[in-house]
Symmetry: C2
DNA sequence: CTAATTTTTGGCCATGCGGTCAGAAAATGA
DNA sequence: TCATTTTCTGACCGCATGGCCAAAAATTAG
C-alpha cells in the first residue's frame, strides 16, 4: 500500500529505522506464531530479536502499532501475490479456481506469517475492548469474492444464489484449510485446494 | 456427558456447590461474550455475579477448570440438541440438511454461550503455552461429519470426494455462519443455513 | 443451644505486563 | 576533531492479574 516516501506524512524513515522496524516485525511474527498472541510480550519479542525492550518503544508508538504493521505487511503480501495471479483470468470459473489454488500456494511458503496474522486478527482489541479486526474486517475480502460470483452469474457460468453467503463460506473454507494444515503439517495443502475448487465449482454450477 | 452422580469421582456435589458452579459459569459466559477472553478476569466475573473473587477459587480449582467446564457445558448443549433432531433421519441427504438447519436453530437461542465458547476455544492455553483447544479439538466433530458423508457415498446419494476436506469445509462454514451473525445480528441466520444446505448438497451430488 | 463444618469475605502476594526515562553509546556532519 | 543528533540500554513505574489465606459468617449436625 505504501511505497517508501508517501506525500502524506512526515520525513522519510532513515535506513536504520526501516531495518529495525523490519527486524522487530519479523521477531514479533515468529514469537506470536510460537507462543500465541497472549504470551507474546514486548519483552519476549525484544529478547528473541536480541535487543533491548526500549528499542521497540523507540521505533513504534506502542504494541498496538507494531501489531497493526504486522497485519498490514502480511496481508498485503497475500493480496499482491494472489491478485497478480488472477490478472490473466477472464472467466469466473478461472478466477475462482485460480484464487483457491494461488492462496494455497502462498500459504505453503508463509506459514509463520499467516499463523501470526490469525493470532492478531483474533486477539487484538481496541482500547475500549472491542475487537480491532473482527469478522467486519473481512468486508473488503467478501466484496471482492462477491464480485467474482456476481460476474459468473452475469455470464451465465454460475446459477443464482446468495453471493454474500457464498463469499463467507468460501473465505471460511480457505481460512480453515490453512488452520488445519498449520496443525497437521503433513496434510496435503494442494490436494485440499483442488478439492475446494471441485466443491465450489459444483456448488455454483 | 455427566449426569449428576458419576461412579468415577469422589463425593457428589452439594446443592449449594452445584448452584454456585452454575451461577459462576453463567457469569463467566456473559462476561467473556461481552469483553472477550483476554479481559475476562476472575475479578470481573466475580463482580458481575455479585460475589467475592475468592468464591470462584473455592468452587473451582482455578480459572482453567472454570473455562473447561464452560466449554463442556455449552458444547454438550449443542451436541444433545442437534443429535436429537438427527435421530429420525435415514438418508445422508436428510442428515446433512437437518444438521445444518438444526445447528442454525440452536445458535439463534444461544448467542452468548456460543460467543463465549468461541473465545475460550481460540484463546485458552495449557501451562506450556500450547493451545488447549486448537483445530485438533475438532477431531470428534470431523469424524462424525465424515460418517455422514461416507454413508451418502455408500448409498450412492453422494459422489466420491475427500470426506475429510468436506468435513473441514462443512464445519468451518457453520462456524463462520455463526461468527458473521454474531457480528451482524440483523443477518438472516435461517436463510443462511438454507443456502448452506443448497451449497453442500450440490457440492456432494 | 452448641459445636462442627461449609462457605464467604476482603485483603494480600508475587508475577508479568506496557510504557517511560536518564544517561551511555553510536552515528553523523562540519 | 569535536559538537550534535540519533539510537540503544537497563532500570524503574504503576497497574492488573490469578491465586492464597486467616478470619468472619452461615449452615448443618448432635
Amino acid at each position: 500500500m505504501r511505497s517508501e516516501n508517501e506525500a502524506s506524512g512526515q520525513k522519510p524513515r532513515s535506513f536504520i529505522e526501516q531495518a529495525r522496524r523490519a527486524q522487530i516485525m519479523a521477531s514479533a511474527i515468529e514469537v506470536i506464531a510460537e507462543v500465541g498472541f497472549a504470551k507474546a510480550s514486548l519483552a519476549l519479542i525484544a529478547k528473541h530479536a536480541g535487543i533491548s525492550k526500549g528499542v521497540i518503544s523507540y521505533h513504534f508508538a506502542g504494541k498496538d502499532e507494531l501489531m497493526e504493521q504486522v497485519v498490514d505487511h502480511v496481508y498485503s503480501g497475500i493480496a499482491d501475490f494472489v491478485l497478480a495471479r488472477m490478472e490473466g483470468e477472464s472467466t469466473a470459473t478461472g478466477l475462482l479456481r485460480t484464487h483457491l489454488l494461488t492462496v494455497a500456494e502462498h500459504m505453503r511458503d508463509h506459514r509463520v506469517q499467516l499463523m501470526a496474522l490469525g493470532e492478531i486478527f483474533h486477539n487484538l482489541r481496541l482500547p475500549d475492548g472491542s475487537p480491532r479486526y473482527g469478522i467486519t474486517a473481512n468486508e473488503e475480502l467478501y466484496e471482492s469474492l462477491e464480485r467474482i460470483y456476481r460476474f459468473g452469474q452475469s455470464t451465465g457460468e454460475f446459477r443464482r444464489f446468495d453471493t454474500r453467503v457464498m463469499a463467507i463460506t468460501h473465505s471460511s473454507a480457505v481460512d480453515n484449510m490453512f488452520a488445519y494444515w498449520a496443525a497437521y503439517p503433513e496434510h496435503d495443502l494442494d490436494a485440499h485446494a483442488r478439492e475446494l475448487v471441485e466443491i465450489f465449482l459444483r456448488a455454483v454450477r
